[in-house]
């Protein structure tokens, strides 16, 4: 709701054209995301180099092929609709078709093979779904072992209704992992000897506000009503990939928020994929497309269905819903997002599996029945090399590469951050700061800032301190001489309205008492104080050091700040007045306003202090700054409490109680405003729709 309100404000504000130059034809179909999560165009990293289909291989078209595996320079295809496994050499020539297998001198066939895996010894593991078994087969088609539904035992409980194996992998120790339909505990594990050994990488139910609200509702529902509701099942794994080191990459089905659809599990089953540094926190751990599009009220978002990782740690995930590929580096930074739905090369209709071989990507499309082969472009190679050499610690080699990347794609946030880091390593802190600021890398910026500050201190520190000391000494001497000549007879006590306001900070009871006694409540002054707060908030936003503010200052909107400061305080005053009137408070509207405005002074001062300090301190040194702000806020609240106690002639408890009521009152008002605006929008839309329909239909 609030978001919508903000949108409305933004729209009102944005009555000017942005980016509306009618775009020339697109140069590329590859994109990336900037720090704020906006899709931004990128040079192509991969282009289609070949398309393989069953007809070209001379074995008839693939029929709903389901899985792909690459081993020893060979591509294996689980051609599910044709009940066969097809092996193709890396050069695209047919190697062999496996449609019958021999098991103990018996000929057996497959029924809807959904998964294929080939181990180091060339043994195939086939998830023969409709036969409810997994076959271990050698290269000649002899079945070595059949894995069936695990038997119930004391320490193991198979939870599926039936045994429907979909995807299968094997680790170095001969453990076999199986993803089964309707099993939500994780991947089923078989020991090397073929006995079941529990579940791997248990998947957690995602706790969202929706889910919590839903659970609450369920408590009040009848059994029938409950049945009608969609049941919340845990997000279950839909596909996985195991790399040389035994790390398991997993894609997850149905995630409400779209987060953590991709995981990298260590042998213990914990997710070790780091959060990307190139994205704002709200989008971290989100893989696939960041934005969700609502079509007729239904969310359309990425659904990852397969993943592959190569020896350099580049992870490529496949999005079946939006027909796209997303390639990440080992630090979860997005390198390329590319692909779209359609009947063109490099476009997909229902992509189901992805593999990589010799730097190429192979994508299997179930509907089209073909494999699209992608190979890297010169830009793709450049970026890969740049990342690899940086990750290997070859900074000297990495720097020119990253410089080239930055020149060839100015839209890449990662290039700015990495170049910043490289300049930092070189000791060129000024350049480092510029790049890191561009890349929104606050923490690293702070480190560079510290070094740069040290240099400045070393260079100018001594003269500055000397001058300061000298000035201090001179001032002391001057004062002494001055007071000797002009002895103080009576210390004048400054007692203007402003001074009294300031004095509330240290002596709230006495100073507020004076205001109440004299009945001197200046609205003019109070507006000045609130304006000071407003200015301080703006300054804090715009002038704070980058290490503290981040790029957030770029999204600054003075109207929003104005609404926040003045609006909130007005609303508070009105609410408190309403509440206190009911609770026999003595204060009048004007008086509450003035008391409130005076109470803001400590916070204003602290804000200014915070702004100044944030420009000279590093993040580590300045970790106390947030506490300073908190103290300022607490101070202001305390002043407000004391002021209201005196004004309303309330006890402490009564002030707190009325304060809480006022806050509740404010919330209701805000809620009503939002509701009204939303309703108004709906009514307006409805009216225009009706009018349009009348015009068009009659």
């Amino acid at each position: 709701m609030l978001k919508r309100l903000i949108c409305v404000v933004v729209v009102i504000v944005m009555l000017f054209p942005v980016g509306s130059v009618s775009a020339a034809e697109l140069y590329t179909y590859t994109y990336n995301y900037d720090y704020w999560g906006n899709a931004i165009i990128s040079p192509d990293g991969y282009i289609v180099s070949d398309v393989i289909n069953g007809e070209h291989l001379g074995i008839g078209a693939f029929n709903k092929p389901a899985d792909l595996f690459v081993a020893e320079d060979r591509i294996y295809i689980a051609d599910a609709g044709n009940d066969r496994i097809v092996a193709v050499n890396a050069d695209g020539a047919l190697y062999r078709v496996y449609d019958t297998f021999s098991f103990n001198d018996e000929v057996i066939t497959l029924d809807n093979p959904q998964g294929i895996f080939v181990n180091k010894n060339g043994q195939m593991l086939i998830a023969d779904m409709n036969n409810q078994q997994i076959l271990r087969v050698d290269q000649d088609g002899n079945v070595l072992h059949i894995y069936a539904q695990p038997e119930e035992s004391a320490d193991f409980n198979y939870t599926g209704i039936d045994f429907w194996p979909m995807k299968v992998i094997e680790d170095r120790n001969g453990y076999v992992y199986v993803i089964c339909q309707d099993v939500y505990q994780g991947a089923l594990v078989y020991r090397a000897d073929g006995t079941a050994d529990g579940y791997y990488g248990a998947n957690l139910v995602e706790t969202t506000m929706n889910l919590l609200a839903d659970m609450l509702w369920r408590r009040f529902m009848t059994v029938e009503q409950r049945k009608k509701m969609t049941s919340y099942v845990p997000n279950y794994y839909n596909n996985f990939y195991i790399d040389e080191e035994g790390m398991v990459y997993i894609t997850t089905q149905t995630s409400t928020s779209g987060k953590n659809q991709l995981r990298k599990l260590n042998p213990k089953g914990t997710d070790v994929l780091p959060a990307a540094t190139t994205l704002v926190a709200a989008y971290q751990n989100k893989y696939g497309d960041l934005e969700t599009k609502y079509v007729n009220g239904i969310a359309n978002q990425s659904q990852l269905v397969d993943v592959v990782a190569d020896e350099n740690g580049f992870i490529t995930a496949l999005d079946a819903n939006r027909c796209r590929l997303f390639q990440y580096d080992s630090q979860s930074n997005l390198l390329f997002a590319f692909g779209a739905p359609g009947y063109q090369e490099g476009f997909f209709v229902k992509p189901v599996a992805i593999e990589s071989l010799n730097g190429r990507l192979y994508v299997l499309d179930e509907t089209k029945g073909d494999i699209t082969v992608f190979s890297t472009t010169s830009y793709g190679d450049l970026l890969h090399n740049a990342i690899t050499s940086y990750n290997n610690g070859n900074f000297e080699e990495a720097k020119p590469l990253w410089e080239e990347v930055s020149k060839k794609n100015q839209n890449l946030t990662q290039a700015n951050i990495t170049l910043g880091k490289l300049y930092y390593e070189e000791g060129k802190y000024e350049q480092a700061m510029a790049y890191l600021e561009e890349g929104n890398a606050q923490a690293y910026y702070s480190k560079a800032f510290k070094e740069q500050r040290n240099i400045l201190l070393r260079r100018y520190g001594f003269p500055i301190i000397s001058v300061l000391i000298l000035a201090g000494v001179a001032w002391t001497i001057f004062k002494k001489i001055y007071f000797r000549r002009h002895p103080v007879t009576e210390k004048k006590k400054k007692n203007t309205y402003f001074h009294r306001s300031l004095r509330t900070m240290v002596r709230p009871v006495a100073s507020y008492g004076v205001f109440l006694e004299t009945h001197e409540f200046s609205v003019k002054h109070s507006l000045l104080y609130v304006s000071a707060l407003f200015v301080a908030v703006c300054c804090n936003d715009q002038l704070s050091g980058f290490a503290f503010s981040g790029g957030g200052s770029k999204q600054f909107n003075i109207l929003m700040v104005f609404a926040q400061v003045f609006g909130l305080l007005f609303l508070w005053t009105a609410a408190n007045w309403a509440v206190s009137t009911l609770l026999d408070g003595k204060g009048r509207l004007k008086e509450i306003w003035v008391v409130t405005s005076i109470a803001t002074l400590p916070y204003t001062i602290v804000l200014v202090l915070n702004t100044i300090l944030s420009n000279v301190l590093t993040l580590e040194e300045g970790s106390f700054l947030s506490y300073v702000l908190l103290i300022g806020l607490f101070w202001s609240v305390m002043l407000l409490v004391v002021g209201l106690m005196l004004l309303h002639e309330y006890s402490l408890f009564r002030v707190l109680f009325s304060g809480l009521l006022s806050v509740a009152c404010m919330a209701i008002v805000v809620f009503l405003i939002v509701l009204f605006m939303s309703l108004f929008g709906q009514i307006f839309g409805f009216a225009t729709d009706i009018a349009n329909e009348m015009i068009l239909r009659f």
Binding site: S20, Y27, D44, I47, Y294, G297, G369, N557, N692
Partner: protein
């Protein structure tokens, strides 16, 4: 009111005629008197077989008495082209309407305006079986009138013969409609020259640079080819726009069957046409390609979009029929010219004849694009929009970059200068052509023109009369914006650059009506009276055609014609640059940037061929998307060598452009690219020295990923895209490399 009156009048007239049952009455009173005086109505019900109708020294056209199919005899090649497959009765793969359509001269879609949805009929089942056909003969042409009983309409098709070939036209202004039925589209001669599933050959479709679909390629599971000529009409709303297709630039298609071939050119009504092709196994056993014309435009209005919950689409239809004559001309090709190269050469000849142009020697090898200024909007304090025109490359920088390129070995270049005019940058109607002061002003322009001339470089100022954000100079949205099918000012939404969704937060734009374009261009030109030696470059108007339904009788074709006229107006000193290069600007353009390098790589098509390049070669130099924005530089460079294209780079002197408006230009710094410019220029210069500016003659596929291009002076270029060396015809070509073979001896790359 006028329109209503006319409609009612026609309706009443036709209704009366139908009621009185006098189909003869229509023929005698309405039609015959307008045809040739010597014409005679051919008698119906003669013996089976074809009757000779038209003849000249090369061709004989005959008409079948009962099926009204056409045969075209080419005496030069002894080939007969039939409008319908002769063995269609034996087709076991076609049923129902598909089978009936094999007999048809055209397929109609229509709607009953009292009902939802559209329906299809064809000339065979709707008219021959359930109606009546009459033939009216003329000296060099004859017209077949098809009367449809069920949908109460008459559609005349005229066949006309000349020395090059046979034209087939829908005489749209003589189409008679009655009752509740409205015609929507007409697919003309869908099976002309179609290849059966036993024949070998291919179909040429105009996807991007041109694309071949081999007969019987078995790709029946993919969507078949069907694309609008000149791309999407911006006047028609689009729910989402995520396409990455190449636009159809040329209104052509062709068939090569065995050793025979023809080229078909949509000579009239090209803007209303789309080209569709299908392979055997899709509904029948034939490989066919043809043109479909839009008789009435359809649009969709989405109800409930603003409330955002559920939406419903309402179909809107153009009220009046497009009264354009819609013509496809078939050019049968002679023996050595029957491949796609021959088709392209035939099209080049056609363009020369039609637009009165002659083939010239190519001069320049480089199309350099420079970004002058860019409009940047920043929010002051997050509220106040401050719009600035930020200079990127001023004229001093232009001279400097051109000088640098000259030093790097670029011999002759065309410089396209974009973003130099305040009105253009602000999205206004560009009625004045003053150069921004911050770029050097008119004085800077004059000095740059002088310097560039010394460097053998021509300057083209880019101008566009298309997208409008602010109205000015007496042009208002009400009087000068294009209007939609239901006569509303068209608001063009901004489609999210990458996902193709409508972005509701970006204000919509308007499009300047093509009706106004010439007068605006005239005003614009007045600013340049004192600078006669400057040339112009056209943006959107050379690559997009919008309809404007606001004016009665104005069709998309009229828009294209207006753009063609305007392009002629802006051609000075015999030079004009154009972006994209739609066929109508080939009447005047001498340089084309962003020309299609390849096809769209549709799954259903088999191979991309440089039809566009061969057709345009000699009329204009061409270049593709800027090389410095390409992901895969080398592949792209090889394509340039293969197709004899100019190099295209886009540079800016100020390379850090943080505005989103130009975020798609992600690598503008010229310094980064100078080594590539030098390397590629050397290669292109070598090629130019060998070809001596002669146009392309032909292109061949030697083996997979190995192509040979031949120039009119005999120079050959063999390009190998494979990752391994190949030897073709005793010539070794290294991996991802090329060889230039001159007529005298072997030049090497």
């Amino acid at each position: 009111m006028k329109r209503w009156f006319k409609k009612i009048l026609i309706g009443v007239l036709v209704g009366v005629l139908f009621l009185s049952g006098t189909w003869n009455g229509i023929a005698e009173n309405g039609i015959v008197e307008e045809t040739d005086a010597n014409s005679s109505v051919s008698a119906l019900g003669l013996a089976d077989g074809f009757n000779q109708m038209l003849e000249n020294e090369r061709f004989v056209v005959s008409l079948h008495q009962s099926t009204y199919e056409i045969s075209l005899l080419d005496r030069e090649t002894d080939t007969v082209w039939y409008s319908n497959p002769q063995d269609r009765e034996e087709d076991d793969n076609a049923y129902g309407q598909n089978k009936a359509a094999l007999n048809a001269a055209f397929i109609l879609t229509y709607r009953n305006n009292q009902q939802k949805g559209t329906q299809t009929t064809n000339s065979y089942s709707g008219s021959i079986l359930d109606g009546e056909v009459r033939v009216v003969e003329g000296k060099t042409s004859f017209t077949v009138y098809y009367k449809f009983n069920s949908i109460k309409c008459v559609v005349p098709i005229r066949y006309e013969l000349d020395r090059e070939g046979l034209s087939c036209s829908v005489v749209a202004d003589k189409i008679v409609e009655a009752g509740d039925y409205e015609l929507l589209t007409i697919s003309l001669l869908p099976f002309f020259g179609a290849g059966s599933n036993k024949e070998e050959g291919y179909m040429l479709v105009p996807d991007g640079s041109g694309s071949l679909i081999y007969f019987n390629n078995g790709k029946t599971s993919y969507r078949q080819y069907n694309e609008k000529v000149y791309g999407w009409d911006d006047c028609i709303s689009l729910t989402s726009d995520a396409s990455r297709k190449q636009t159809v630039r040329l209104p052509v298609f062709g068939i090569r069957k065995g050793q025979q071939g023809f080229l078909a050119v949509i000579t009239q009504g090209d803007s209303l046409a789309s080209v569709g092709a299908s392979i055997s196994g899709v509904g029948h056993s034939y490989n066919q390609v043809n043109a479909t014309f839009q008789l009435r435009a359809t649009d969709t209005y989405i109800l409930g979009e603003s409330t955002g919950s559920t939406t419903q689409n309402i179909a809107l239809f153009q009220e009046e029929l497009n009264a354009e004559e819609l013509t496809v001309k078939f050019f049968p090709l002679t023996k050595e010219n029957t491949d796609y190269s021959g088709m392209a050469r035939a099209y080049r000849t056609y363009l020369c004849d039609r637009y009165n142009r002659s083939v010239e020697m190519a001069q320049s090898t480089m199309h350099l694009e420079l970004i002058g200024a860019v409009q940047q909007t920043e929010l002051f304090l997050g509220v106040l929009p401050i719009t600035q025109l930020v200079p990127i490359t001023d004229f001093d920088a232009v001279e400097e970059i051109v000088g640098d390129l000259k030093d790097l070995g670029v011999e002759a270049m065309d410089v396209r200068y974009v973003g130099w005019n305040r009105m253009q940058l602000q999205g206004k109607v560009t009625t004045k052509g003053r150069v921004l002061g911050s770029l050097g002003g008119n004085r800077g322009l004059k000095s740059a023109l002088k310097t560039l001339e010394e460097q053998q470089a021509s300057l083209y100022l880019d101008v566009d009369f298309y997208s409008i954000r602010k109205w000015n100079s007496g042009y208002t949205k009400n009087n000068a914006a294009i209007r939609t099918v239901n006569n509303k000012q068209a608001n063009i939404p901004y489609y999210d650059y990458l996902h193709g969704y409508k972005d509701a937060f970006v204000p919509t734009t308007s499009i300047l009506s093509p009706i106004k374009v010439s007068s605006v261009a005239q005003k614009f030109l007045n600013s340049f009276k004192k600078i006669p030696d400057v040339n112009f470059s056209l943006g959107n108007i050379a690559s997009k055609v919008p309809s404007d339904f606001g004016k009665d009788g104005w069709s998309r074709q009229d828009s294209a014609n207006a753009y063609q006229e305007m392009a002629q107006l802006l051609k000075r000193e015999n030079k004009l640059m154009a972006q994209g290069g739609n066929a109508y600007v080939l009447a005047s353009a001498t340089a084309i940037v962003d020309a299609p390098m390849t096809d769209s790589r549709f799954n259903v098509t088999d191979i991309s061929v440089p039809f566009y390049q061969i057709a345009v070669s000699g009329l204009a130099t061409y270049s593709y998307e800027a090389l410095n924005l390409e992901g895969d530089l080398h592949q792209s460079f090889l394509k340039h060598i293969e197709t004899g294209a100019c190099l295209h780079f886009v540079f800016g002197a100020e390379d850090r452009i943080t505005t989103t408006e130009l975020s798609h230009l992600y690598s503008l710094d010229p310094q980064v690219w100078y080594d590539k410019v030098a390397e590629y220029s050397k290669a292109v210069n070598e090629l130019a020295a060998a070809t001596k500016g002669f146009p392309l003659r032909s292109h061949r596929i030697l083996q997979e990923n190995v192509y040979e291009t031949t120039y009119e002076n005999g120079t050959r270029v063999i390009v190998n895209y494979n990752a391994a060396d190949v030897t073709v015809e005793d010539i070794q070509v290294e991996a991802e490399d090329y060889v230039i073979l001159t007529v005298g001896g072997n030049g090497n790359a």
